[in-house]
Amino acid sequence: MLARIAHELYWLGRNLARAEFTARAAEAVFHSELQGASDSRPGVSFGSGGLMAMLGDVDEGSSSIEALGQITLDPEHPGSMLASIERAREGARTVRDVISAEMWEAINTTTLRLRGGSQPGWTAPSGPYMASQYVKERTALIWGVANRTMLRDEAKYFLDAGGLIEVSDMVLRMLRVALPPGDSTAADGHALILLQAVGGFHAYLRAVTAPPNAHPVARFLLFERAYPDSVAACVDSLHEVFTRADAGPRNSKPVLRVSRLAADLDFQRRALPEGAELTGICEQAQQELARIDQDVAERYFAGAASAGDRR
């Protein structure tokens, strides 16, 4: 398929995933900041400030409500939920003949509604919250439609690959911002906010018997293969997807690099002692993902200077 089209699909996947992640995280932070601090000590720090830091913008002056407003509905803020959805729509319009009509409609409708401002109640103080809920629902729908109606060919693989890389990058960003630095076992308080930000609360409870404290939650989000949004699970799926999309996977740099990252994560999962420090691993994994992104651009998108580009 055309390199350009593959590139668009890849970025469509990334933008959809970024919008969804932003929506979930904003919702969680909104709830969390509305009320007082928890009775039990938190082991991570993740609020509207942290969310802003994740999305590249540390505006010291904003209040929590302002920050959430920017992260969700500010069209001028390139990292906002609305901006990601707009970019997704642009991309989807370009690849309309490759994705199904249903998918295009779903994305288009979402964008138009989100732009609206005509939604009753969205201008109310709970606006960012309600918009996030809406985006959460709609992205689930869009992926659902993609999984049901798209042929499982190269197009789908690149769409999926974009989503997978973005999710793992977002999770790693979140962990790097939220986890206390260094090997501070003293701060093993609860980390519910992280689970709520990704929607992994129930999965965690079913997978892990330990209470949801910082260390077990971080390990869960990094290594738990049975949880689809963990970094390890995404990297595994990424490997599968590229192996299928690639004409010659044995010699493919991105495939090999992904494979090595998967092996590293697996090794760390087994070898790391209980309370070991995880922020270093998060940083390394994020750097590897950046290199993978670069490899992907070089191999499949005709070496476009898209790597590292910024708008």
Binding site: S38, S45, G56, A187, T209, P211
Partner: protein, 530 residues
């Protein structure tokens, strides 16, 4: 400071003397803690409140947070849970006093249950007559002599409190069998945050969503196994039970299995669950099923909701049951009269929270006295809960009073009488969006595992009808979110939050611009200009 307060929603609000209103002074001015809240409510206005109410109903129906009511014709239908949007506000100091009083009371009740099924010292000392204990419908002879792990019987306790017109808090009823309502506390808070987040703006409200973790921790700590390996389950009678929503909710929030009787079996005095991998042991059971139905071999033989042999496993100490079997002996309304004595006897302390004055009708003198004043008193059957069979003298008709007189005379042991308490009121949204005072009570929830933890606030139940004092949801009551405010002085908060760290320098976000074409053109151009 009346500018924000003159809107129809709040302008005409007048507390009803002699009742204490929790948000307004007697002259109609807002109390200092409530000022910001009242102003915000004024800004919302009747339209805003009614609109939020509609959204609430839609959300609750969608999420299945409903309860069954039966209409006059007998047909039952689901209604969205009646959450009133005006919260009740308590400050930190008030709450601390309530907490200490509750913890003391629960400890005493726990001692009592242990004593009743073992040495009976409080009976030997002549404080509580044995006949009273033995005639409690929930006195379980089958658990005589059994001591559960940790000596804890009342793992979950909900002692209902009311605030009298003189401002004092009194306990009106103890519930230590299977107190329910915590799921509404959690869902109410979540709903309020969604529907009217602006109300929270000027306040720091203490969270309540750690309850499931508290409960899970308590269950794990009493389970007869290594704490990390304990399998905990929630045992429900099934979807037909009116409180099923809560059973499922708690199981989900704790991440444990929700089981029914057919999922359980006892072999060799050990309790197991039937799973796809065969029998798996269950170490701790949070049971939401009445004692009578728990084991057809020991209790009601016709119970299809029970597990035969469960009592054997319990006696053998191979399973922890919360709340313990037989705790109902402590929440009998006749036993309630003795709780202050229990506190003195077991703890050597004076009760922090008072009882409502109660008259035991098994005493002939009391009976005389009460029969002469029926129209002034509240009469309750000792063995019931949920407001069933209660007569409120001042609100009852002559016919009802006569009927009660006959019932009591025929069987005095089955009734108690209490002074009417002047329940406090809190502004409540009426059908037209205007606020009016309605009576409330409070059910805080306590978890007793290794120590007693009480969730800030609890379920405020409100009588939705004007002047009514009956708050039970099964009899037309609703509920409110209960706010306990943070103050700087909370010694029991778990230490300072972790210091605000500088987030590490993250790589910039990528946006994937496609510039391939441009580059190629440039190259071409360069070539040409060579």
């Amino acid at each position: 400071m009346s500018s924000g307060v003159e809107t129809p929603a709040v302008a005409q609000y007048r507390p009803q003397a002699p009742f204490l209103d929790e948000l307004f002074e007697a002259d109609g001015t807002p109390r200092p803690t409530a000022l910001a809240l009242i102003e915000e409510l004024g800004r919302l206005g009747p339209e805003g409140l009614m609109d939020a109410g509609r959204r609430r109903d839609a959300i609750f129906m969608q999420q299945g947070i409903t309860f069954e009511t039966s209409s006059v014709s007998g047909a039952s239908h689901e209604r969205p849970f009646p959450l009133d949007l005006v919260p009740r506000v308590l400050n930190g100091e008030e709450w601390r006093a309530i907490k200490r009083g509750l913890a003391q009371r629960i400890r005493a009740l726990n001692h009592f249950v242990d004593d009743v099924y073992h040495a009976r010292e409080i009976v030997r000392e002549g404080i509580v007559p044995w006949r009273l204990v033995a005639s409690c419908s929930h006195f379980a002879r089958a658990v005589h002599g059994i001591r559960p792990p940790g000596g804890v019987y009342t793992h979950v306790a909900g002692c209902d409190l009311v605030r009298h017109s003189d401002g004092t808090w009194k306990v009106i009823e103890d519930n230590v069998r299977i107190p329910s309502g915590i799921s509404y506390v959690l869902e109410n808070r979540a709903a309020m945050a969604r529907l009217v987040p602006e109300l929270f703006a000027s306040y720091r409200v203490r969270r309540v969503d750690h309850y499931p973790q508290l409960l899970l921790g308590a269950l794990r700590s009493v389970a007869p196994s290594a704490e990390s390996e304990a399998t905990v389950v929630v045992w429900t009678p099934g979807p037909a039970n009116p409180a099923y929503f809560e059973h499922a909710f708690l199981a989900r929030q704790m991440g444990v299995e929700l089981v029914e009787a057919s999922d359980l079996v006892v072999r060799d005095d050990v309790l197991y669950m039937r799973t796809t991998r065969g029998l798996e042991r269950a170490h701790a059971v949070y049971r939401r099923i009445d004692d009578d139905f728990v084991d057809p071999l020991e209790f009601r033989p016709d119970s299809l909701l029970g597990v035969p042999g469960l009592l054997r496993a319990y006696r053998a100490g191979s399973v922890a049951i919360a709340n313990a079997l037989g705790t109902g002996v402590a929440d009998d309304k006749a036993i309630y009269c003795f709780v202050p004595d229990m506190i003195r006897f077991y703890l050597g302390e004076e009760p922090i929270l008072e009882n409502v004055r109660t008259y035991l009708l098994s005493d002939p003198e009391m009976l005389e006295h009460v029969l002469g004043r029926l129209e002034e008193l509240v009469v309750k059957p000792t063995g019931e809960s949920g407001g069933k069979g209660v007569m409120i003298g001042p609100h009852a008709s002559e016919v009802e009073i006569e009927r009660m007189r006959r019932r009591i005379t025929a069987d005095p042991e089955r009734w108690i009488a209490q002074d009417v308490v002047r329940l406090s009121t809190v502004p409540t949204v009426g059908a037209d969006g205007v606020l009016a005072p309605r009576h409330v009570d409070l059910r805080p929830f306590a978890v007793f595992g290794e120590r007693i933890d009480i969730v800030p606030g609890g379920l405020t139940r409100v009588a939705l009808e004007e002047g009514s004092l009956i708050v039970n949801s099964s009899r037309g009551g609703g509920s409110k979110d209960t706010w306990v405010l943070e103050d700087g002085d909370d010694a029991d908060r778990a230490g300072p939050p972790i210091a605000d760290t500088q987030p590490p320098a993250l790589p910039d976000l990528r946006y994937g611009a496609w510039v391939g074409q441009q580059q190629q053109q440039q190259q071409q151009q360069n070539r040409e200009s060579d």
